[in-house]
């Protein structure tokens, strides 16, 4: 199990939403030091899984957003920046700013739709957003994350951040996305897309898994079929964490405090 690039959370009592909804994948280009935001509560078992898997590869940062533990659904980020809702407290903002490298812009946004993880889905080049986002927010996204922003719906759902998950290599979307929609999205995002499910048929993809360029974490209910689909679309099969890390280590620019 430990050699698979896709980790299944082995704790049986974790609900699908609980396991990956709390996390956000930090980027992906090998030059960037990927960080993963973690859940603050010590009682959360998912934290230990992440720490055990990722702690030697990338720094793991414990935080809360707006005093809650659902960090993954509230914020959106990539290698260029991190966007936070207006409910983020000043102390949390400062903590994040101190823990992340300087080239990552940490920005708090005044936006009516404050669950940014559910409204924005992005990789390093492109972002899909909720169609009802403000114009200023859209400009901020383009500015802070350095991406091209597209207002889209996925399978008729406006909450794009929760119904799709994509990285620089591939993407997984809501199972009921039609073929034409899939093609359109694929050309927009410039990555191969697949309509699939996670956590035994759950349509809410981003709530059940979290992914970056070289690894993915899924909820414990994910079936083997779903796992194989995820591995193939995100091209994780050949990628072994150790080999990637060795490659990355030379170009890691961060200073370990």
């Amino acid at each position: 199990m430990s050699t698979l690039p896709v980790k299944q959370n082995s704790k049986p009592f974790l609900s699908p939403l609980h396991s990956a909804a709390a996390l956000v994948p930090r980027l992906s280009s090998p030059l960037f030091v990927a960080r993963t935001l973690k859940v603050l509560a010590a009682s959360d078992h998912g934290y230990y899984v992440f720490e055990s898997e990722l702690a030697d590869v990338i720094p793991v940062v414990k935080t809360s957003i707006a005093g809650t533990r659902i960090v993954g659904r509230l914020c959106a980020g990539n290698k260029n920046g991190l966007l936070l809702p207006h409910t983020t407290t000043d102390q949390e903002l400062q903590h994040l700013r101190n823990s992340l490298p300087d080239h990552v812009v940490v920005q708090r946004i005044d936006e009516r739709l404050s669950a940014l993880g559910n409204c924005i889905s992005c990789n390093d080049h492109v972002a899909l957003t909720h169609p009802d986002l403000d114009r200023e927010t859209e400009e901020l996204i383009a500015d802070v994350l350095g991406v091209e922003v597209f207002r889209q719906t996925i399978a008729g759902n406006i909450v794009v951040g929760s119904y799709c998950a994509f990285s620089n290599r591939g993407g997984l979307v809501h199972p009921h996305t039609s073929v034409e929609d899939l093609d359109e999205l694929s050309t927009l995002l410039q990555v191969p897309l697949v309509a699939g499910t996670v956590n035994r048929g759950s349509e809410v993809i981003a709530a059940g898994m979290t992914v970056n360029d070289w690894t993915a974490f899924c909820g414990s209910d994910t079936t083997a079929t779903e796992l194989s689909v995820i591995e193939s679309v995100f091209k994780l099969r050949e990628a072994q964490p150790s080999s990637i890390v060795d490659e990355m280590r030379k170009s890691l620019i961060d200073t370990y405090v």
Binding site: Q94, D102, V106, Q107
Partner: protein
């Protein structure tokens, strides 16, 4: 913990005080006490309610534009924590407060300037017009008929020294 401003009167709301109202369009209204909250529920416009900061600013009673206000803006893009900067900021906060208070006092003084002269002039005109409230007209007439005492300067004469006749 963050010290917010009351939406109605603009005073600071400390932790443990006040009410926060979230409208359906996700706009948050914070009130420092029930007085402001009740006024809001009555749909009163703070710009028309005399004791609020909004009214005072709008009508020029309080300072509106000043560079010291720029320091208190809410910032959404934090900077990495630097101990020296933090130390200097704390000192600066005290100094800026002092300067702001001094400027507000000066603004008030400028606003009240010329008030004494106007008051004195108004008092004089009132005195002339309504003197009959104080003194009876008959006494006024008597006063005008009495010739004023004239002072005459007397030449200084040397006192004759009386010698004792021997």
């Amino acid at each position: 913990m963050r010290l917010e401003k009351c939406w109605f009167c603009s005073s600071t709301v400390y932790p443990g005080h006040g009410i926060q109202f979230v409208r359906n369009d996700a706009k948050i209204f914070r009130f420092c006490r029930s007085k402001c909250h009740k006024n809001f529920k009555m749909k009163r416009n703070p710009r028309k309610v005399k004791w609020t900061k909004a009214y005072r600013r709008l009508h020029g009673k309080d300072m509106t534009q000043d560079s010291t206000f720029e320091f208190e803006r809410k910032r959404n893009r934090p900077e990495r924590y630097d101990r020296n900067v933090a130390e200097k900021t704390l000192i600066a906060i005290k100094k800026i407060d002092k300067i702001r208070v001094a400027r507000e006092a000066r603004h008030h003084k400028m606003r009240m300037k010329g008030k004494q002269a106007i008051e004195r002039q108004a008092a004089l005109t009132e005195l002339e017009k309504s003197i009959d409230l104080v003194k009876a007209p008959a006494s006024l007439l008597q006063e005008s008929q009495i010739t004023p005492k004239i002072k005459v300067k007397v030449a200084d004469t040397q006192p004759q020294v009386e010698h004792m006749e021997e």
